[in-house]
Assembly symmetry: C2
Homo-oligomer: 234 residues x 2
């Protein structure tokens, strides 16, 4: 072993990654403790800690106090998908963005918003290069976001307004494939039952719901992302 010292935590991370990758440390294996690794690599324990910590964050290692650090058994691949503002998503593709408000009403909130308060119901269409891109069907809780009532939403979209106005603490999101039905087919100008990609999202501020939105994309839409930009190995 030539044993030249590893100077930075990235180099250590790379070496650990190499050993996992080369099956020197197979899945389930308990690797040496930080102090030993620090000695072997000729660096401070804090540096080893930094390297292992970030591999643990990435789901590749499992660490428990006193027990030690193990190579993850089922390194669940994790893909992170970005959820940009629609305007940006469209303009990033080099297309011309246009927004069109379809309806704006105050109605009783739908059950999935889980609130007693009235809700602002907005439907709108987002265009890309004069082609319908996505149909937005949104409910905004008027109790958590009362300012929304003063917004007409005929110029700037609720999507954009909320992002810069109503901070959220958490939310949930789901992706499905659905057949297009009803008014949707008119707005997106597609035949009945055409497969469309649907994103449903609800966001909360602590325990209060802010908004629930259903985004129905025109046919051909594709979410694309990469796995393994960070460390990763399997």
């Amino acid at each position: 072993m030539s044993h030249q010292p590893f100077r930075n935590w990235q180099a250590i991370q790379a070496e650990v990654l190499r050993r996992i990758h080369a099956r020197e440390w197979p899945p389930g294996h308990t690797i040496p403790n930080e102090a030993d690794l620090a000695r072997e690599f000729g660096c401070a324990r804090a540096t080893v800690n930094r390297a292992l910590q970030s591999l643990a964050d990435a789901g590749l290692l499992e660490r428990r106090r006193k027990v030690g650090t193990r190579v993850a058994l089922h390194p669940v691949g994790k893909a992170t998908v970005d959820i940009p503002i629609l305007r940006q998503e469209i303009e990033d593709r080099g297309l011309r963005y246009r927004y069109q408000l379809i309806s704006r009403n105050v109605e009783a909130a739908p059950p999935h918003l889980r609130t007693e308060a009235a809700a602002l119901h907005i439907t709108a269409l987002h265009w890309a290069d004069e082609m319908p891109y996505v149909f937005e069907d949104r409910w905004i809780d008027t109790e958590t976001a009362p300012d929304a009532l003063e917004q007409s939403f005929d110029e700037i979209s609720a999507n954009e307004w909320l992002v810069t106005t109503a901070p959220y603490t958490h939310g949930d999101i789901s992706f499905t494939a659905q057949p297009a039905t009803g008014a949707l087919t008119t707005w997106l100008n597609i035949p009945d039952n055409t497969p469309v990609f649907v994103i449903e999202r609800t966001t909360w501020d602590r325990d209060a719901p802010i908004t629930a939105v259903k985004l129905t994309y025109a046919p051909g839409y594709r979410i694309h992302t990469v796995i393994g930009t960070g460390p990763m190995a399997f």
Copy 2:
């Protein structure tokens, strides 16, 4: 300002988050530098660094040397979706898993694998509680993963075999909604043109392709995940 000292980096992170959240530091605002914050919070600069670093990782802050730290203008929401092994995905839902190999051939590799070598072409069906769950259409590069040729894949799926055998460095993944056509409709037992959720994934070992797979899920499939388990704020 009562100014009680913040003892740990999580507390500092929470306080920074609070200020962003409360619009004391609005989007685009350049926040005080680490040294000043350390003085204000009564802690070491390294502790402030840890807190800000992790917020920057989460996409909430943008940091540049010499320039300083700004609150992100368009805090892109990031949703991380897990990519488990199919057996696990099904069993985690409390359903009985069954695997059925449909075909296994060595053929010329399709163009998107970007290789000259022959490829192993496998199609299979994964069942959940005796209902077709997902149809797998996979190509494996025989040069990068020659061991695959010795596997019959009639008992354990290529999905499972690859995860525990062929480590990858990176990959890409995409989600679409498509109409079901051809043999698919037979295997999934659905009418022609039924909307189905499709995941396409390609994985690489450095510059060599390992496998490309198209997973077509039975109708009703839904990817669900949460945003904001980590810090987050908008």
